[in-house]
Symmetry: C2
Subunit: 412 residues, 2 copies
């Protein structure tokens, strides 16, 4: 440590996700010394995890090194896990045993998969929140195809639970992978993966307008995905998924995208602050991303872990909210009179497959090729790192032109 650091305001940021990095980038304040703590040495571009899981992109393409991301800010990076926050002592406790003091704390620890206690879900499903999980899904899919090719030549049944954007995008991508891999597994036919998408509600993409939900369903069915709405999962085993009502779905691999909840750090922080976290593990915050009903003005929560009620609606757990929250806290630290956060909804989009996506921005509702091109452009724009952007363009171009998926090596 250089000696002058003690004169600087110590800002500790937990989490190198969209919220944490947006805060760091926006702060740009030479009187603060930022320390970023994350359990991984990279930022995960989670909107594209499903493409890693479906062999379209390598893990590295969507994982930007944390140190590269914060280089300009002069921030320090610590590869560690925060296991406790001590607001009365202005410090955090790390897995290594070390304690880090802060003047300002930004908790951007994100969310984890929520299985709502469904029997067998913890043991027999994979979430898709991390690079590790995405690589594991890819390896399990490829291994299941090898087994199917060898024993019996039947299609591999895969069940995806949850009809939100993640579930829809993974279902579409796996259905396409199935066709592409026909070259490798001709004996399995063009539908080597039998993908079933189960949604508890009565339509896919419940946050989208009805019309786009209907488009997503129609287009997934066209691609060979079985879509089950109003399908509530009763139990998951290693071999099948049983729905309430009695239907049994055979499943070699069950992916759980049906819910997320705040990282466990939310509960820990809430307890120390003397408030209770919401049932979904998130912490209620005010218009400046401070936990409501507490007296710790130097603690901010941003991103998925923060539940901000804006005009009666809780802001969703998506990247744009996290980024705007991160930037808001940075602006507030520079200007205490900065007005409250007003979330600017830039719309929602989900890709369904080759040349097909749904996009909803205010009154604009589009689907098909134009929506897909918009989806491509936006994801490229938000991807961190010029190298990763170049890489994803090359991979997408290659996959599009050759109907190939090159990242199908079993590495786990």
């Amino acid at each position: 440590m250089e000696p002058d650091l003690t004169l600087k305001k110590q800002v500790v940021v937990i989490g190198a996700g969209f919220g944490g990095l947006s805060f760091i980038k926006a702060l740009d304040d030479s009187s603060s010394q930022i320390t970023l703590i994350d359990t991984h040495n990279y930022h995960t571009f989670s909107p594209l995890l499903y493409q890693v899981a479906s062999a379209g992109l390598t893990a590295e393409s969507i994982a930007h090194p944390a140190r590269a991301a914060i280089r300009k800010s002069g921030a320090t990076f610590l590869l560690d896990t925060v296991i406790d926050i001590e607001p009365d002592h202005n410090r955090v406790l790390l897995g290594s045993g070390e304690r880090i003091n802060y003047d300002t704390l930004v908790v951007a620890a994100g969310s984890v998969t929520a299985d709502f206690g469904v029997k067998g879900a913890k043991e027999h499903t994979l979430g898709m929140k991390t690079i590790d999980e995405a690589l594991l899904i890819r390896s399990k899919v490829m291994r299941a195809l090898e087994d199917a090719s060898r024993y019996g030549h039947h299609a591999v049944p895969i069940v995806i639970v949850g009809g939100g954007p993640t579930g829809v995008e993974l279902a579409g991508a796996l259905a396409e992978l199935s066709k592409v891999l026909h070259k490798d597994f001709p004996e399995l036919g063009p539908s080597a993966l039998k993908v079933t998408l189960v949604e508890a509600g009565d339509r896919l993409l419940p946050m989208f307008p009805d019309s786009l939900s209907a488009v997503a369903k129609r287009d997934l069915i066209r691609r060979g995905v079985e879509v089950l709405t109003q399908g509530q999962v009763a139990e998951v085993t290693a071999k099948d998924v049983s729905l309430k009502g009695g239907r049994l779905l055979e499943s070699n691999l069950t992916v759980w995208t049906a819910g997320v909840k705040g990282n466990s750090l939310g509960d820990i922080l809430a307890r120390h602050l003397g408030v209770s976290a919401r049932r979904d593990g998130r912490i209620e915050v005010d218009g400046h991303c401070r936990p409501t009903g507490t007296s710790y003005p130097n603690i901010f929560v941003v991103g998925d872990l923060a539940a901000r009620n804006e005009k009666g609606t809780i802001l969703p757990m998506v990247a744009p909210v996290a980024m705007q929250m991160g930037r808001h806290v940075a602006a507030l630290l520079k200007d205490p009179d900065h007005p409250e956060l007003k979330y600017r909804d830039k719309g929602s989009m989900a890709t369904i497959g080759r040349s097909d996506a749904v996009v909803w921005v205010g009154k604009i509702r589009i689907s098909g090729l134009i929506a897909w091109l918009a989806w491509l452009g936006l994801h490229l724009a938000y991807l961190l790192g010029g190298r990763n952007r170049l890489q994803v363009v090359i991979d997408w171009g290659w996959n599009y032109l050759t109907y190939d998926r090159t990242a199908r090596q079993i590495l786990r």
Copy 2:
């Protein structure tokens, strides 16, 4: 299985390395049904493993899917491990319990790291023969840098045992990584990795002419590598490497590239054939790659596992020998009068770092930029898969122009 397969000659190939794939590609015979068995679903381009270990390339770039590699041949692929060969029954036993019958068997199982029983080597060193090992080395290097940055700011000591091409290339690549990562770890200085290369003999690259060995040594030293020749390892612990004679080298990570031996399948096969494998685990073969002193004309051994004595010299364990052996066996199966294998030595090369390599082809001995360009071209030419070739060109170009290494995420 289609019913007509029983009429075809069953050819079983063990191993999707250079030998096995060259055989399959060259056989191109519609009267044979080939089954390729490998423990991975990809071919590993082992000459570039050191670039995966040093964060220059992703694993996928040097791992070509096995099914794509054999697609044109109509061969069947089995993802499995061969645990026994039964020459008297013309069948192999797989890890899954299945037995596969063959009319012709090509054993191309390759080699594994040999630590010569040096104390602690098994527990405390990593080899560099597989993608898994290369990814593990990369993760350990990056994690060690994180620790060094956090605790004490000293350089990370890394010892590489073995001054052959693999050791020289890895040492040079890690020394360069060290400089490149200066941007991420400025507090560690430009020599964040303190690389020591230990060679038991009196010069590096013992298979090269003296003059090129001297160039390699000089250029590695210029890059900051400590080169210790006549350094025999007495013992390895988690913290250091002790040499005979008493010198103790601190080491956070010890990579063992000092020896290879035939895959254990060599011993198993030799026992069944009633011969003894050599001390290095390889099987002596005749000019047609048949095990010498046996009466099983339908069994061939090619690649690293085969020890062919040609005019008093055992052919080296390198990719060109494996490829020529594979092609030879294919030619022999098509023409029983095909003359014996005559190995055509196309020369040897090793890269030392940016714009620097040594190349030896007959009387030609070059080093520096021209040698490096030759090295680049040759490796690209031999890399399997158009996608991988494109990818490696892009990665090399990017790394060369930006002094960056983008594959530095800790994925293990």
